[in-house]
C-alpha cells in the first residue's frame, strides 16, 4: 500500500536524492523537471501529493499552483512548496495561490515527512493497492 508523490524540481542532483529518500520511506515517486512537465504528469497520474520547487524553467511553482487551482481534479491535491526564499511576501504569495505548506531550503527530511504525513491524513488520500 503506497501513496504516490509527484516531485517537481529542476536540479537533477537534489531531485534524485529526494526521490531516493521518499522511496526509502515507502512512497511511490514520479518526478518532473519543471512545472509544465509536472502538470502533465499530475493530470495523467493524479498523485496523492505534490512537492514542488518555485524557481524552475518553462513554468514556475507559482504558475503551477495557479494551474492546479483552476483544474477540476488537481485543485484537491495538496502541494508542498520547497524554496530557498523565506521572505514573508513569497511565503504568503504561495499560500494565497493554494500551497498547502511552505518549507524553506535547506530542511531536514523529518520535517518534510511530517508535513507529508499530516497532509495525507487531512486530505484523506487513500493509498493505492499495488
Amino acid at each position: 500500500m503506497q501513496h504516490t508523490i509527484l516531485l517537481i524540481e529542476d536540479k537533477t542532483g537534489l531531485r534524485d536524492t529526494l526521490q531516493s529518500l521518499l522511496e526509502l520511506h515507502q512512497y511511490q515517486v514520479i518526478t518532473a523537471a519543471n512545472g509544465e512537465e509536472g502538470i502533465q504528469l499530475a493530470t495523467a497520474h493524479l498523485p496523492h501529493l505534490v512537492i514542488s520547487d518555485i524557481y524552475m524553467p518553462v513554468l514556475n511553482g507559482y504558475q503551477l499552483l495557479e494551474a492546479f487551482q483552476s483544474h477540476e481534479q488537481l485543485r484537491y491535491i495538496p502541494v508542498i512548496i520547497l524554496s530557498a526564499r523565506s521572505a514573508t511576501e513569497e511565503v504568503n504569495l504561495a499560500l494565497e495561490k493554494g500551497a498547502a505548506a511552505y518549507i524553506n531550503k535547506p530542511f531536514l527530511f523529518a520535517n518534510l515527512n511530517a508535513n507529508i504525513q499530516q497532509l495525507l491524513q487531512t486530505s484523506g488520500a487513500a493509498p493505492l493497492s499495488l
Binding site: L14, A84, K105, P106, F109
Partner: protein
C-alpha cells in the same frame, strides 16, 4: 551632461545596488546545493541504518556535517538580512505582540540542536501588556540573543526575565558564559565585529548588528553588561502599545 552619461554619485549608487543584488542572488543560490548536500547526508545515514552498518563514528560525523550545513545557512540568512537593511529593502509589519507568549513559543521550539538539551528559564514579573512591533523582527532578536546565550554559556541554562514596568517592558537575556572583554563592548553592535575571545566559536559578526537595527526599528533600546569569565546580560526595553503611538 550627454545622454547616457552618469555622475560619479549615480555610478556609486548603481554599483552598490548591483552589489546588493549579487549578494541576494548568490545567497539564495547557495541554498539549493546546501539542500542537496543535506539530503545526501540524510540518504547516506538512512542507507547505513537500513543495512545495519551505522556506528557511533559515522553517526557523529554525519550529524556534524548536518549541523555545519545549517550553521552555514544561518550565516547566509544573516548576510541576506544585513543586505536588506543596508539596501533599504527591509519591510516592517507591526502588530500587537504578547512578548511572554512569543518567548514561550520560542522556548518550546528551541530544541534544534541535538547536542544541547538545555532550555532557557523564563521569569515574568508585573501585569503583562502588549507592545506594537514586527513579529518576525522580534523573533529574530530573541532567537539571536537566546542563541548566543546558549552558544557562549557553560553550565547553567540561560535566563530570560520579563519585567512589565509602568510604561515599558524590560527584557533581560542572562548567561553565565565567557563574557565580553570591556574593550570590545563599544564596537559590539557594529557589523562584522567579533569579540576578541570568540575565535573558536563560529559566527559572522552580523547577528548583534541585526539585533540592534531591529530593536531600533521597533522603537526599543538595547544595552549590555558583561564581565569576562562571569557572563553577560543583554537588556531590551520597549514602550507599551499606547505609549509607542
Amino acid at each position: 551632461m550627454k545622454n547616457g552619461e552618469t555622475t560619479a554619485s549615480q555610478d556609486a549608487e548603481n554599483l552598490l545596488s548591483n552589489a546588493s543584488n549579487i549578494i541576494a542572488i548568490t545567497s539564495h543560490e547557495f541554498k539549493t546545493p546546501l539542500t542537496a548536500i543535506s539530503a545526501a547526508v540524510e540518504l547516506l545515514a538512512a542507507r547505513l541504518h537500513s543495512s545495519q552498518q551505522m556506528d557511533a563514528f559515522y553517526e557523529k560525523n554525519l550529524s556534524r556535517i548536518t549541523t555545519e550545513i545549517f550553521r552555514l545557512n544561518s550565516m547566509l540568512d544573516e548576510m541576506l538580512t544585513i543586505n536588506s537593511i543596508m539596501s533599504g529593502r527591509m519591510s516592517l509589519n507591526k502588530e500587537m505582540i504578547d512578548v511572554v507568549q512569543l518567548l514561550t513559543t520560542l522556548r518550546a521550539n528551541y530544541f534544534a540542536d541535538p547536542e544541547d538539551t538545555r532550555s532557557f528559564e523564563l521569569h515574568v514579573k508585573g501585569i503583562p501588556q502588549g507592545i506594537f512591533a514586527d513579529r518576525n523582527q522580534l523573533n529574530r532578536i530573541f532567537m539571536n540573543l537566546v542563541g548566543n546565550a546558549f552558544k557562549f554559556s557553560r553550565e547553567k541554562a540561560p535566563l530570560v526575565t520579563v519585567d512589565f514596568e509602568a510604561q515599558r517592558v524590560v527584557i533581560r537575556v542572562i548567561d553565565d558564559g565567557i563574557g565580553i572583554p570591556a574593550a570590545d563592548l563599544p564596537q559590539l553592535f557594529q557589523p562584522f565585529f567579533r569579540a576578541s575571545n570568540v575565535d573558536e566559536i563560529a559566527g559572522t559578526g552580523l547577528g548583534l548588528s541585526i539585533v540592534k537595527t531591529f530593536v531600533q526599528e521597533n522603537n526599543g533600546t538595547i544595552t549590555v553588561d558583561s564581565t569576562v569569565g562571569e557572563g553577560s546580560t543583554f537588556t531590551l526595553s520597549f514602550l507599551y502599545h499606547s505609549d509607542s503611538l
